[in-house]
Structure formats: C-alpha cells, structure tokens
Symmetry: D2
Subunit: 362 residues, 4 copies
C-alpha cells in the first residue's frame, strides 16, 4: 500500500509519469458542493510545467472527471478523475533502468519492485504525480474557503536567498494569498529577485538548488486535533512528507525553538476584542496537537532537484561496476518553486479531512 | 481517537499524569520472543525522572504486565501493561484549570474537551506518558536488535551549544549506542560540557531551554517503504510528532539541503565490497520513501519545557480577564534531554511496524 | 493485529483467560459523559458466569478503571480498564496443549503462534474475553440511551425450540428491553420453557446445544451508513463475527428473503403521522447500507459450546497419532444463552462508532 | 467514506450507473505478476448483462487500464482501470427522484445525500458497480491460483428450489470450478432445471425471486487469520456485505449449527496421509477466526431484485402523500444468479488481502 491519504476524506492516487493516465479517487466529499472549475484549473495552472523557470515538458493537465459530480456539483459518491499523459519522451529515461540516478528513487524502486517498476520518467515517484494532488487539494481548498478557511504558501528560501516570512500573528487573508497570484510566489518581490537569481544561477551551471516553502492557514477553527499520534502536526506531517523531495518540516518556531529559552518561546495568552489569543505565535497555531485558533504556520525543506545535466557517478546494477551517467530530459532547476501550490493542496486536503472527521461540516 | 500508533504492530496508550495508572496495549507482536526484562528496565531508566538535571518527581515506573507474556515470552496475544501513578501532587496544578499555562495544552484541552479533561499534571499530554512509549519502544528495540537492527540517539543541541553529529556514512554500532550509556547522552563529552552548561544556566534562571535530538538506525534492510504517503519518512513523522514538545523533523541533510546545489546534495552510488552504497548520505537513508540501506538519520527539534518558574501572562478563562500565573511543580529545564530514549523508542516501534507489515519477520 | 474494533470510537481488547488480567482501552469517547456504574455492573451481571445454566466458574468480574474517568465522568482521554483473573484452574487445560479440542481454537492457535500461545482456559479466544466487550458495550449502550437509542436482544432459538421474534415494525422500547430483565432472556416465557428444556437436555446428556440470538435497535437515526463496504451491515458484521462461536448473521428477512418474491420482500413506503416508514420491515432497517429509520433487526447463529464432557476424537500433535480426549473443566451447555448481552454490547459499540463517525454527537 | 476495501491490498471503487465511467484503483499488488487478460475478460463475462435470464442492458464492460501495468505485468504501483458507461437510458429513472422504489436505496440515498445523489440507474448502489469488483477480484483470483488457491461458487438456492451443496470435506478443484463454466452455475444440472423454472416463473409474473450463493475456497493455507475482530470470518463478512442485495452470511454449518448438539457439530481431528484434518467440516474451515486448512465454505442470502414491473406503493417525498409507481427499466429477475462470480471476486480479493498482510507472498 502506498498512495492513499486521509481518514474521513480519502484520496487514492494512481499513475506513472509515462503511463496512460494519472489521477485519483476522492471518497468522502460532502454532497451538494459546487466545484468552481475555472478556479480549480487556475489553481492547477500554478504548478503546471512549461513556464520559464521550470521543466519544458508541456501538458494540458486538464482532469477528466469520471464520477462523483453532476454538473460540477458533488453527488456524495466517490469522485474520480484522470489526466491523460500526452507529451512523453520515454527514450530519455531508458539508460536509468540499470544505472540509478543519484538522489532519485531509481535504486530503491529497483530494490522494492524487483525490476518490474515502470520507472520511465520517474514512474509513480515523478513530480508529475503532484498534478492529482493539486486536483484533490484544489477541491479541498474550495470547500475550506466556503467555511472561511484559507490556505496559502510562498517560496521562503532558495539556496542562500530568503523571502520575509508570513507574520504569524497579524497575517491577513490578503497577505496570505498574495504570493499565489504572482509568477514567482514570494511575499517580498525585492527579495524575490535574489531568489530568482539563485534559480537562474543553478540552471546556468547545469545544476539545481534546494528551497524552503512556508505555508499558513487562516480561519481554521480552534480545538481541532487530538493528543499523541492524532494531532494536527502528526496528520499534516504524514501527508506533507508525501510530496516528492521534502526532507524537513517544522511548525511555528520549529528548529529555531531549539535555541530559545522557555520565557522566549512560550506565547502569553492575551485577550483581543474579548477573544483568547496568544501575543506571539512560536507554537505555530498548535499546542498538544490541537489548534489554538492562531494561524497554523509551517515550513518544508525541499532538496535540490536530483536531475541535473552534469555527469554524475553511479553504479551499473546489471554489470556490477561503477560508472557515470548524464541526464538529458527536462527538469526544474528548483523543485521548491513549483511545489508551492502542491504544499497548499496537500495541507488543505489533510485539514479538510480533520475538519470532516470531527463532524464540523454538519 | 488519538493515542494509537501503527498498522501491523499496534500501540494503544492510556493514562493521565495524575490518574490511577498509565500504560498501553501492544497488538501484533510475533509469538515466541523472549523479552529481556532487565534490559527493558535499564532502557526505561534512561528516561526516568528524579535525576540531577530533570524533574524531582520520583516514580519507580515499573510496568506490570497484564497479558501477552508467559514467563517473559510473547504468546502472540495483545500485550498489556500498566504503570501505577504513585507520587502525585495534584494540588500544584489546581489553578491552571482556568488559567492556561503558556506553551502548554491546558487551553486547547479546554477547547477540545469542554472543561472535562483531567488535566492534573498535564493529563494525557504529560511528558509522563512517554513512559508507556518507552515500554513499547523498548520491546520493539529488543526485537529489532535480534535482527541486527540498532536504533540510537543523542542530544545534538541545547540552546546555542552543539554536539558533533553521527557520521551518516561511517557510523558504527558502537558509536551509535555510546551516548545512550552516558548520563549526559552526547557523542562528544567535551561539547557535552557546554551543552550541560546551557541546561544549568536555564535552570538557575528559573527558565528552560530547547534542544535537538539526533537519531540514527543501523542495519535496517534496504527496500522497505512505499511511495507517496506510505514512505518511511511519512511513517516516522506521523509517529515522532506524537512525542510531546517536538516542533520539527528533518531527514538526512534536511533543512540544510534547501541551501545546497543538486551536485552537492545528490549522493553518488558507489560499490563498497561489492555492495551498492552511497558515498555521502544527504538523503538520510531514504529515497522516494524507501530505504537505501544507508544509515537512516533524522533530527527532531524540541521546544523549551513550557513549565518555568517565572511569572507568566495568561488569561483567566472563567473571569474573562488577563492575569498572571506562577508554576510551582517540578519540571525538566530541558525536555530534549530526557527525550533521547523516547525518540529511540518511538522510532523503533514505527520501524518494527514497517518491518512486520512487509512480511520480513517470517 | 487482531483485537481492535472501531474507527471514530476504538476498542483494544487484551487478556488471556488464565493470565493476570483481561481488559480493554476505549479511545474516542466524548468528554463529559457520566457513566452509571450501577447500571454498568448490572448489565455485566447478565453475562456473568456462575448461574444455574452456565459454567460454574465464579468471578467477580468487576472492572478497575485505570484512566479516562474522573468521578465516573469521561474526561476525553482513553478509558482503560482491567478485570483481574481470580478463579483459574489451569491444570484442567494442560493436556490440550498437544491434543487440540474439536471445535476449539487450540489447533489453529498452534498453527498461528507456533506453540507459544497461552491457551490455558482458551487463552485470548476464551468466552471470558466477552467481559471486556460488555464493559465497552455497556458504556456505549448508556451513551446511546441518552440519545434515545436502545439496543436489546433475546434468545431466539435453542436447538429445535424457538421464541417468538421481535415485531420488526411495531416493536416498543418496553418489548425490546423486557427479555434482558429475565433470568432466561426470551420474549415469550412459555416458549422459553421449551428452550430451557433443550439446554437442560443437552447438559444432562453431557452435551451442548447451539442457538440463535436476535437483536434489535430502536431510535437509531435514519440516513446513517454508506454504500458498498462501509454500510451498517458491513460494520455490524465485522464486529459481531468477533463474538466467539458466531457462525452466521442475517439482517431483516435474511436467509428467509432468499425464498421470497420481490413483491413479498419489498417493503412499501407509507406515511405514519406524516413520517415516512415502511409497512413491513423485511429490509431490517437498512437499505443500501444506510438506515431507513425502521428498527434495525438481525439474528446471529451460535454453534454449540465446543467443550463437552463426552470422550472425543482428536490428534496428538506431538506424537503424530490419533487419540481421544475428555474435557473436564466447567462449561456452558449453550453459549448462545450468555451471549445475549454480549450481542447487545458489540452492536451498541459498533453503532456508537458509526454515530460518532458521522458527527452526530455534536 | 464508503467504497474502499482491504488493508495490505486496497481497492477504491468509483462510479455511478449512468455517469461517465465506473472503475477502481487497486493498491498493493505485488510487482511482476502477469495478468492473463483473456482469462480476466472471460471471468467478467460471467456477470455480464445481456444474457437470457438477466437484464437486457448491453455493455461491453471492457476495462481500460490506466496505470499499474506494463504489457499486462503489474509494476508495483497502483493499478487503475475505468469502464465507460455506454448504454444508459436515464429517462427511465427520472420519476424515482422523489418517489423512492421499495427495497431500493433511493430513499436512504435521499436521506444521506440530501437530494444531490446521482441516483440515475441506481447511482453508486447499482448492481453495475459489481463490474469493478469483478475486475479487482478477477485479478486477485489469478494471483491466488498461482499459489494453488482456488475460489469457486454456485447458485445454491432460488426461491424454494435447491442445488446440492459443495462437499465440505471431499471437494475437488474440478467440482469447485465446474459450476462457473456453465451458463446456469449449479452443481447438479437436474436440480438446476427446477431452479431455472423458479426464475422464469418469477419473471413471467412480473416479479423477482431471492436466492442463495454458496462459495468455497480450496488450498488456502492453514493458520491465517487472527482472534476477535480480525478473523477470516470478520474480514470476509465486512467485504461480502458490500455486494448489493446480500442480507445474510453463514460459515460452515451456519444457522444449521444452532440446531445441533456439540457432539454433532464438533469436527473430530483426524490424520489423513499424515496431515491433520477434520473428519467433518461444520466449522467451514475456520476456528477462532483462523483457517484450519479444510475448505473454507460459506453461503450468502440474496434478497429478490427490488425492481419489479408490478405497480408498487410508495411515498411522494416532494408532495408528502402516498402514491404508487411502476418501474419500467431492465432488470434481473434473480440477482443471485449474476452474483455468483461477484461472490468469488469479493472473496478472492479479501483472501488475497489477508494472504499478503501476513507476509505469505514473499
């Protein structure tokens, strides 16, 4: 088992990068919800390849809905969708069947599936599989928004360059959603220039570069989540590590909290217009696994795209000798860049799942 | 639902800090495995309170086994155990029922359970609940060790002071297990002195301090795990965020990878004595959610203990006014310190679960 | 994994018949619910051994609550309980370690756990394990009753003798609960005499006899359940086959429906006092996996108690030869008789789980 | 959530009867298994509509495989398939939106989904959704057969007419598979004539008739399954009640066991060619939830097809008055008849799931 997510709301993702189609089945959506298709496609467009700084592979990426909708309204039954794979150049990947690319899942897929894995284009591990995540998460985002819950993300760091972070206390809906409307999704455009320069520098060096995506959630109700293994952090973590290339996750002050004193990290409770809040938000909106009502804030570390044009050392599994490879193909120099909407999508799906599970939709 | 973990191997944890008992039920252990009780109690002793740098609460913490064992050998049926709560001073906590302690789950428990939560001593959120985790994980560690799989951790950072990390490539079993044998569980004792000084400084300032725990796993088979949402990272993350005070998790190069180029972060495949390895280990032993056979390496950020003796600002939920509190009680100045064996325990449990789930025990 | 039940409400059962204790952990109970302990113990008393027609083993069977309650009110955290095993005569069972009793799980436990299973008194398979089911289900029954939902059962058949069934349309709360108040739990006491005679005849012949238990649920809301694998029938079935000795389950007209025409079996929709009902109730309150609001009605077939005093043929697993055994011990001549409250308990737990899962508690 | 099945092997079913497509995603199939497409289509043909005694709706029912296969060999990734809905006459069903058909899920779907359910042709509740079950189960059957495990079923009863049952002790592979090769799937063709006459009599009376399907499994290993809620009976029951129109399930002697003495129902253990067997098989191959190695035998009660051409009474939900309806459409007079391969399919899927979960594939 592998490619399923959720409890009250379930997602089953399928597809290989160069197979016939990719897609998913969503089970547990409430009935009677109209999906704004234009908004959904606009959201998916944010991760679409074929833009300036990303892979040149060009796919329409328009999902065909097979079930679960009647005239764009959910009917309560499982919602299935498929996205045809049109533009594939499988030949590019042939050599890697026995010469695993460093940093890729070629070798582990070989171990796990004994040579039967369809790894053309990265197979089921491909970044292309984030398209179904965006369909499912884009729908989840729309449902949450109807309840006044907004999920937004921005590119927080690329290599050594950094954006400013979301304000974890004063964050407005406008500020949250602003980066998603830009071609280069940052809060501070001036800093964005330096970040973009890092991507371009990596690209022109036939290399790639890592990055950090920050995500925040506004309007999520307080009191959701459970102690121990069913906290909001556990649930988000289990989902977010499903995004390819994620190697780290922190909530609120995160790793920074390790360097703080309790007197600095403890967020004092205060009253604002009669409502219990915290003055600061080092806790990232979650205490004891349960939401406090403050913005939920987390950051994800993305490794550099493993596919780079430089010659790399590897092992020929068939011959049992060391060798080198060169990866042609088409690749994003910074996977974190296109991951921004994917992070929003997966977070939205996991949060809607929790929301539904606690019976808050009724 | 909240306090359950695992799929092929299941743990259900129960208990409040000041209730009658804490404990757990483990379902899915293979039959016929002898538990070395002396080793188990020695392991639990590593997290036991009552030592110099930790809370002065004194509990024997000896689990009573209620089922699942015959003369210390697993019989295949659910293994249940209970640890009596002996030394409780509930009076210390009475004021916090309506005046939530900053950084604690008092407020969110109030939201979630509407005032009915038994929050004496932190209730089910208390660090005391890590004792059942250590029983379950201590048993899991023993089973893994019989298969040549070793899990070890050390205190990697406290405030601004840092230990050296485990060598992610050359790590030996001896080096892995060495910190666990020390009263102050670090790799480099000289650096440990500076780290200890941070704890003591926080303590004498009536404050607390955060930290980082690093954990590694040696001998875990290659090829375990699945893509997307069922990878080793997802499974470890879902479990590890169940440890109180964890606010971040990173695998391999983790957040550091965000600052690297692909040419730096990609670990070249090489042959060592005929075996496929990677020359470096930025991937932390996991690619595409599946183990490569290299050491699994991850780090957890712990926030500073929220209980500090200083006066803190909070809200009186009953009166609806801002107020202050002082926490007397007994508290660890650095929760990360005693968390070291807990991290090993939870990681061991999650990995044994994966191991059993993939049918590798047979 | 084996001994866990439920999704929003979870039960983990532990214990062997002759181990230290049996018990369970319930996770997911709403906070703030007062448990009527007197009513709970009275309910458990209905399945207690030591009565005239049942095994002579005498156990107080009083659960000790270890967590999850404060002054008999649920606090939202996992509720754990243990029942000490006091009166055990393990010597009685020694011979069966290698000579499996026909109709028992001795042989399959040997296959499954390779000789390590603690099968004294039937181990984890023992009817004694229905005591924790009655604790969990007795609590569930109380919670359901607060919402106007009542679960009742009666002994429907023993050998060739039959009770009258519950009226599936006109069933009142009084009629539903009447059998549970009798020592011999039937609807029609006259018929009960013939049924009792069957039990006594079996007993005096050093034999045992099978039976059928019928259960009904009043007041469960309409519209609960989901199509395919998550219908009310699926969920009840998965739970009810967990009761030892159950070999069949039917809803509504059940196997009788196989002999009917559609024109007989289809229940016409009618209006009663403005409410949509069905005139008959062959569907047993469930259509398409979803409740209609009519009484939920089902019947369970129980095999005869496999432990009988007559000499029986078996195989000596150690010697590899055919042999015979005689079972001394203490046994119910008709397991269905004491199963009546167990059926109510398991049904109540499964239905409360569905009720909570659909967010109807809020 | 609703339409998902399995633990180590997962099935997610989607589609409405008159939507764009029906289908499913199977996650957890071992890699490297060749699917015999001709055999799969032949198996699916057994449930195909358009034959003499069944509905006249004509569908090619050929699944298109979207992922998970490379040249008919499983690649380890989720296997998705879709079956286009071609021949739909939605107009036939329009009146039932507010006038629920007796015995159908129209009314409960209205309660559950508030009028948004796409119930054309029965929506997601339609018998048409058994086609994806046959794809998934047909694949499972092929995998089991490679391990020497065979699943077969026959029509055991229709109305008052009965077939002979499978011999629960001496059943051969040939006898098991024989009914599936016949147009009218019974063991005894002479008895089959009387059964067929029941179907025809119901049909010519513009009525329908119920039936019983018996299923057996040969070659399934002994020692599979777990006590309490994870026994083979629990797992099969949870799956089999997902087949539309099932109202009862019994294992081995089943409801008949309720009328037996222990001395009759206990199956003596004997040695046959050095192998431990039971002389009789009242236990249906399962003791304590665990397989004994004897044939697994169970029977399912199917209610009569609820769609009949006679005028029936119902309620107009929009007007709030009693009324009548006449169902035109195209319907099987005996749903049990076409259910025979569906029972095999669902049983095979559930058993392969258990087989994989226990690590027996490796």
């Amino acid at each position: 088992m592998s490619s399923e997510l959720g409890r009250a709301l379930r997602l089953s993702v399928f597809g290989q990068s160069h197979g016939k189609a990719i897609g998913g089945v969503i089970d547990g959506l409430p009935a009677g919800e109209r999906i704004d298709m234009e908004a959904l496609f606009a959201f998916m467009d944010r991760r679409r390849p074929g833009k300036a700084l990303s892979t040149q592979r060009n796919e329409a990426d328009v999902p065909e809905f097979l079930s679960g909708l009647q005239e764009d309204v959910t009917c309560g039954f499982p919602l299935a969708f498929a996205i045809k794979n049109a533009d594939t150049r499988s030949g590019d990947y042939a050599p890697f069947a026995t010469k695993p690319r460093p940093g890729h899942a070629d070798y582990t897929a070989f171990l796990r599936y004994g040579g039967f894995a369809d790894m053309r284009g990265g197979g089921h591990f491909s970044g292309r599989l984030t398209a179904p995540l965006c369909v499912a998460g884009g729908i989840a985002k729309q449902l949450l928004e109807k309840r006044g819950i907004f999920v937004g993300a921005h590119l927080f760091a690329v290599g050594g360059a950094k954006d400013v972070g979301f304000d974890p206390v004063l964050l407005t809906q406008e500020a949250l959603l602003a980066p998603g409307k830009k071609e280069f999704p940052v809060c501070d455009d001036a800093r964005g220039l330096a970040m973009k320069a890092e991507v371009e520098a990596a690209k022109s060096a036939q290399d790639s570069v890592g990055g950090v995506v920050e995500c925040a959630v506004l309007g999520f109700p307080a009191g959701v989540g459970s102690p121990m293994f069913d906290g909001v952090e556990n649930r988000l973590a289990a989902a977010l590590f499903g995004i390819p290339a994620v190697k780290g996750l922190e909530f609120g002050a995160g790793f920074g909290a390790a360097g703080l004193r309790g007197s600095e990290n403890n967020d004092p409770f205060v009253l604002k217009e009669g409502k219990v809040c915290t003055e600061t938000n080092c806790h990232g909106g979650i205490l004891g696994g349960i939401t406090t009502g403050m913005p939920v804030v987390f950051r994800l570390a993305f490794k550099p795209t493993p596919s780079i044009a430089q010659k790399q050392r590897t092992v020929d599994l068939a011959e049992g000798v060391e060798t080198t490879i060169e990866i042609k193909g088409r690749h994003d120099p910074c996977v974190a860049l296109r991951a921004v909407p994917v992070v929003e999508a997966v977070a939205a799906f996991a949060l809607l799942d929790l929301y539904l599970e606690e019976g808050r939709w009724n």
